[in-house]
Each structure stands twice: as C-alpha cells, then as structure tokens.
C-alpha cells in the first residue's frame, strides 16, 4: 500500500511526464507527416527553436500567450514550406537541406531574440506561463484526475491531435494520398495525385506542429527563451518516429514514455541522489539510441523516404 507522500510523488511524476511529453507529441506527429510522405525533416530542431523564439517574442510583446502560439505556428509553417522548396522543388539531398535549415534556424532563433530584447540587466525577460485548466468533475478523480485532466491547454490539444492525426492519415483520401506519395511517388503521380502539393502540405504541417512544440517550451514550460531550450528534443522526435513505426497512435505512448523518463530524471535530481546529474541528462539520448536499435530490424519506413521525385528524370 503506497503512502500518501509516495502517491503524491507518483502523481506529480506522471503529471510531469505529460508536460515533458508535450513538445515530443507535437514534434513527432509533425515529423510523422513529413516522413509519411517521403521527406526526412532534419530541420525539426531548428523549427522548434524558431517556434520557441517567435512564440515567446510575440507572447511577451503582446502579452497574449495564444497569439504567441499562433505566431509560432505560422512561422513553423513557413519554415516547412521553405524546407519543401529545397527538398521537393530543388530535389536537394534531404539530410543536407535539413541540417542547413537547423543550423540557420538555430542561429536565427537566438538572433531575433537578442535583437528584440533589450536586456534589463540581471533578470531575463519572462512571461507568466500558461496555467493549468482543470476539467470539471474529471479532475477530481484521484491520481488520474491530476495527471490527465488538470493539465495545460496545449497538452489537451496535443492529446486530441493524436487520434486526429491517425484519422486523417488512415481514414481520409488526403491521408491515403500522403501514404502513397511516401511509398511510391510514381504510382501516386500516375494516379493523378499532385506529389509536390502533398509534400509541401505535409512539410507545412510538420513545421507548424514542431514550432508549436517549441512554443510550448518557452511559453508553457519555462516562460523564458534560453539557449539550449530544446535540449535536442527535435532529434529525439526523429528517433521517436522510427520507434513508434510512423504511427500516430503509438507516438502518444512513445512520447509519454520518454516524457516519463525525463520527469523521473528531474525528480531524481531534485531528491539529490548521489549520481552525477549528467548521467540523468544523458539518459534520454542513450535511451533513444537503444530504442532505435531495438526497432531497426522490424521498423518499416515509408518506402520512398529520402527520395526526391522528378517526373521526367
């Protein structure tokens, strides 16, 4: 029988798991859309940072956090379109285009922050983060109530996003076209599907979602924009897509798993275990690598992932 303090701790860890999972959910679902149509979006880390930066700046400047989220989404979508331009229209190597985007956007995210904020000495600018929105009745359930139904708005949206993405991908014509483009773009083209348009759309979705994931970090989690804010989460999303076999429903589970480990790690630090804290910070990455190894054999990537498509080549 767990003691009350243990129960509180478990509840808080689980609730934290959801919060840590939020950027992963957005980023990974976005990445899944990109990869399902055949484009590996290595620009995700940069897009997340741009979302965090732009979102924070707009949120801080206007005082309206939701405006910040919206700005992040718009910026992310535009970045997705840029990525599409390089990979789809120019047919550039996807690895390189993605890295270029991330390098440029990482720098840009700090750059625009630095030129927009005048340092008021000492205290970095911050916003009051999103508060939690308890759902009536449901949030009174012991443990589960606090964990799931007493969360932030963006988390609720994120949770709804998962079945929505699955529905779009598997039950709509649009989703069928996306999957066909990712498996065999020639077949899709021959069937009359506009391969370019599908890829542009998916990358816009990927960019927008990743940026919102980044905005979560600056507007909801910390209330500030700092160097190293994303901690390489964008890359974890890339691995998570493989780990969850490109399936939106699994992505929720995967994100929660990684979020949970993150939450565990933070709690351990707080308790002050005498293990070097860097070992905990390392854990998400080590685990990601292990996860990738575990699924590499049976993971079935979209067959046309990484290929550029030009009709008359």
């Amino acid at each position: 029988m767990t003691s009350p303090t243990e129960l509180v701790m478990i509840t808080s860890i689980l609730a934290m798991a959801f919060r840590m999972a939020a950027p992963l959910i957005y980023g990974t679902i976005g990445e899944a859309f990109a990869e399902r149509c055949g484009v590996l979006n290595l620009g995700i880390e940069g897009m997340m940072l741009m979302g965090a930066s732009a979102g924070f700046l707009v949120g801080y400047g206007t005082g309206d956090l939701w405006l910040g989220v919206g700005a992040a989404a718009v910026v992310g979508m535009m970045l997705g379109l840029v990525m599409a331009f390089f990979t789809v229209t120019l047919g550039a190597q996807q690895h390189v285009a993605g890295l270029g985007m991330t390098i440029a956007c990482t720098g840009l995210s700090f750059y625009i922050y630095r030129i927009s904020i005048v340092d008021v000495g000492g205290v970095p600018p911050h916003v009051k983060p999103f508060g939690t929105i308890p759902i009536p009745y449901l949030s009174d359930i012991p443990v589960l109530g606090d964990v799931i139904f007493n969360q932030h708005a963006l988390i609720y949206i994120g949770i709804i996003l998962v079945p929505l993405a699955a529905f779009i991908l598997f039950k709509t014509r649009f989703g069928l076209s996306i999957r066909a483009v990712g498996e065999n773009p020639s077949a899709a083209d021959t069937a009359g599907i506009n391969v370019f348009r599908i890829r542009y759309l998916c990358l816009a979705i990927a960019g927008g979602l990743s940026a919102v994931g980044g905005a979560w970090l600056s507007l909801s989690q910390s209330g500030m924009f700092l160097p190293g804010l994303t901690q390489g989460r964008g890359w974890v999303c890339i691995a998570l897509v493989v780990f969850c076999n490109w399936s939106p429903l699994r992505i929720l589970g995967g994100a929660l798993l990684f979020g949970g480990i993150d939450a565990l790690q933070l709690t351990m630090q707080g308790i002050g275990w005498r293990v070097p804290y860097q070992l905990f910070l390392m854990m998400p990455y080590v685990l990601t690598i292990i996860a990738l190894v575990a699924v590499a054999r049976r993971a079935r990537a979209p067959a046309a992932l990484l290929s550029s498509y030009k009709r008359e080549d």
Partner: protein, 514 residues
Amino acid sequence: MIEVAADAQTQPNVIEMKGIVKTFPGVVANDHVDFSLEKGEIHALLGENGAGKSTLMNVLYGLYRPDAGEIRVNETAVTFDSPRDAIALKIGMIHQHFMLVQAMTVTDNVILGLHTQGVLIDEKTAENRITELAERYGLKVDPKNFIWQLSVGEQQRVEILKALYREANVLILDEPTAVLTPPETRDLFVILRKMRSEGRSIVYISHKLEEVMDVSDSITVLRAGKVVANVKKTKTSKAELARLMVGREVIFRLSKSEAKIGAPVLEVERLSALNDMKMPTLKNVSFAVREGEILGIAGVSGNGQRELAEVLVGLRRATGGRLVIGGRDVTAATPREIVDMNVGFIPEDRVGLGLVMGLPILSNAIMKKYRDLSKGLLLDYSLASDYAGGLIREFDVKTPNMRYPTKTLSGGNLQKLILARELARDPRLLIAAQPTRGLDVGATEYIRSKILEQRSLGRAVLLISEDLDEILSLSDRIAVMYEGEIVGIVPAEGANVEEIGLMMAGSRRMELAS
C-alpha cells in the same frame, strides 16, 4: 513511309495525336509523330526498345509534356498537365513497371487519387465494386490482399481493374505480356477483346510481332522516334513488320556452332532461399552448367530468378542446399570470393546492381580489376585508364570521353560496359540475367553474339531470360523455373515450345532425376 489507303472512316477517331515532339537530354524520343486511334479497335504501337512508344503514350496520359504537337480527344483539342486530366477524360494506362503501392491493399491502390470518394474513404463500397468488376471481366483478385502478396500476373490484373474502375474508354497497355506466361497472355487477349466489343479502344504497345499480329486490328510502327508505317493487320505480315521495325532484314536465329561440352563448372544442389519478405523463393533448385554449354533458365520474371542469381554470386544467403563452383563448395561464400573465383555476373538490374552510375565510365570499367591495377595501397590510374580505354574500344562502348559520368551512356552502351568488364576477365562461369531486356536490336545482337562466343571458348554460361525466343536460340539445355522450383530441364535441340510454355505457367512438370 508506307501508307495504306484508309478504309472509309465510319466513326471519328477517339484519339488524334499530331506532330508530337518530345526530347530528353541527348535524344529526340518522339520526332513529329502522328497517331490516331479509332473507336472500338485494338491498335498496336510496334517498335523495338527505344523507338519512342512508351514516351508517346506517356505524353497521351499526361505524364510528359510534349515539346510540340497537338492532342485531340473525341475531336476536342486538349492539353494535359498531369495524369489527372487524362483520367478525367477516361484514358487509362497500364505501365510496364506497375504503378502500385506494395504496402497497400488492392482496394487502396484502386481508389488512390479518385475524387468521387469525398473526404472519407469508403472501403466497403469500393471493395464491392471491385469484386463486381473483377467477376465481370474474369480478373480473379481479392480486394483485401496487399500488393506484395500478389504474383506479378495478379498485380497486372489490379492495374487493369484500376482503369476499369475509372471507366476508362481508352486503355493503353505498355508491354503487358512481358510478365505473363503464355496461358496468361491468352487470358489477357480474351479480356482485351471483350473490352473492344464493349466499344472501348485499346492501344497495345509491344515489340513482339507474334502478339501484335494476333491481337491487333491496326498497327503503327515507330522507329528511332519516327512513324514509319500505319497499316491494318490484315494487310501486312510478320516479316514486313519486322523489316519496318528495324529498317533492315532481321535474322531471327543466330548461328550456333557444335556444342563441345566439358566438365561441370557450376553445380547447384537442392538450393533453397528466402526472399526479402522472408518467404521461400527458391525451393530445392538443382541443376548444373558445364564447360562449353549455355544453360538457359526460362520463366516469367518473378519466379525466383533474381534471387537465384543473387545466391549464386553471394549476395543472398542460401537457407539450404549446396553451391559448387569449379569443384569448390561456395555455399557460404562472400561476393568477393565469388569474384575471385572468376565468375562473371551481368545482373538483371543494370543500374541498381551492375554499375555505379555517378562514377566515371572509367571507374566502372575497372571495377573488377582495380585490385590488380594497384601496387600496395595505391591505384595506378594511368594503368587503369589504359585498361579501361582498351575495353571500351574493344566492346564498342560509344562515349566521347571515358571520364564522363556513367549515366551519360545509353541503355545499350551501359550493358556493353558491363559485358566488357565481365568478359575481359575471361570468366569460367558467366551468369547473365535478362541481358538484352530493353535493348535495341543492334545491342541485342551484339550481346547475344558475345554470349555465344563465351560458349565456343569453352566457358560455361548460365542465361536467365524471360524472352523465350532468346532462350531457344542461345541455349544448349533449357531449364524452366516456376515459383522457385525447376519444373523441367530439356535439351534445346528439338524442344517443344508448347511444353515449355506450359511448364512456365506451372501446368506441367517433369520428373527430374535427383
């Protein structure tokens, strides 16, 4: 240009293409081509590989934009920006390389890209309609199956269903029988004739004279991108068509010297293997190839031939059986060991497995010799370029500069390059898979003569080909492969083509001495 006085036209042409020009870098694929299709006819588009037939139809289907020319559908001028426009006008195309998504079901493939569905997919309705169409035309297919589960012949049926589902009035088939057994070909013709009787019009692209004379009503012959004839089938002959196709008299049989057979070089005993989907693809395959003989493996593509070649050269692991080359057990050998045993390999997938397209022609030419051209760690490039230059000259690989990227070579020259590289080492065993697929007659004759030359030099040749004519004219013995098994081995001399056809279709097997 042979023009036959046209019979009085009773109906307007369903399709009219006038003055179509289409160029790709370095080649004019269609040179002011005129083509017209009457309603309710089967019109063959005949020509050897590279003549421009597929290109012309890809233009009609909206996949390619013509550089010049006009297209009329039912008397109205049209321009197609994409296949969607062609599909909207009830034109359907069944490509040589199927445009199917392997990981999806038949149903999903059929409804792909259709707008009549609305936002949500209604699989049930689609399945019912597919089943109904399948029954009506005798195309046996289960809509719930995934494409990767289907045989090649079944996949083609799905392609046909796609066109029928969209109510295509004009059907374009690009080399449809390349992947069919003789009985399946007959079934296909029955289906085509049924469609014709319904008033649909069919364009039948082929380089096979027999079939064209069998199934078509009129024939347009293309040669090197130009139309050289437009005739009614009843007013022409196989010989005349052949001459039109190639521009000169065609020799149908190459002369073969007397066979001087020696000791076995390749011995395959009860070889088994799995394919990429982990399903059995080779089942207890046994045969031998001896010095001075050509063993031809006949069979429609997709019955394990590709995997057999891969096992023989060490690219795929056997799950059972033994492989012996020159008396040595090489069942578990690496590709390097097989190469060192002086085995030559002309793979089915020229570009994917036979060459490194991005590298200079010179590099590909020395791919199997570079170790001998090196001293220690250093590769002697001047020695290499001498060697490569010699090869390129001897095998007539046409290129202005051997330092150009390999992808600048045409299909025939690519194959000659591969041939040069392999034959230069005088391999005791040559494994040639689909060596003349997609090549024009000139290149085809050259490659076949080189293969025969190996034979007269006393070397062993394993020839894998889906072209039965090729097998019949080159082989000393013929083995037939069906669903991963050797179902018969017969001498080529006096072989019964009908029997072989039946074996290829799985309807007949021989009792083979084990």
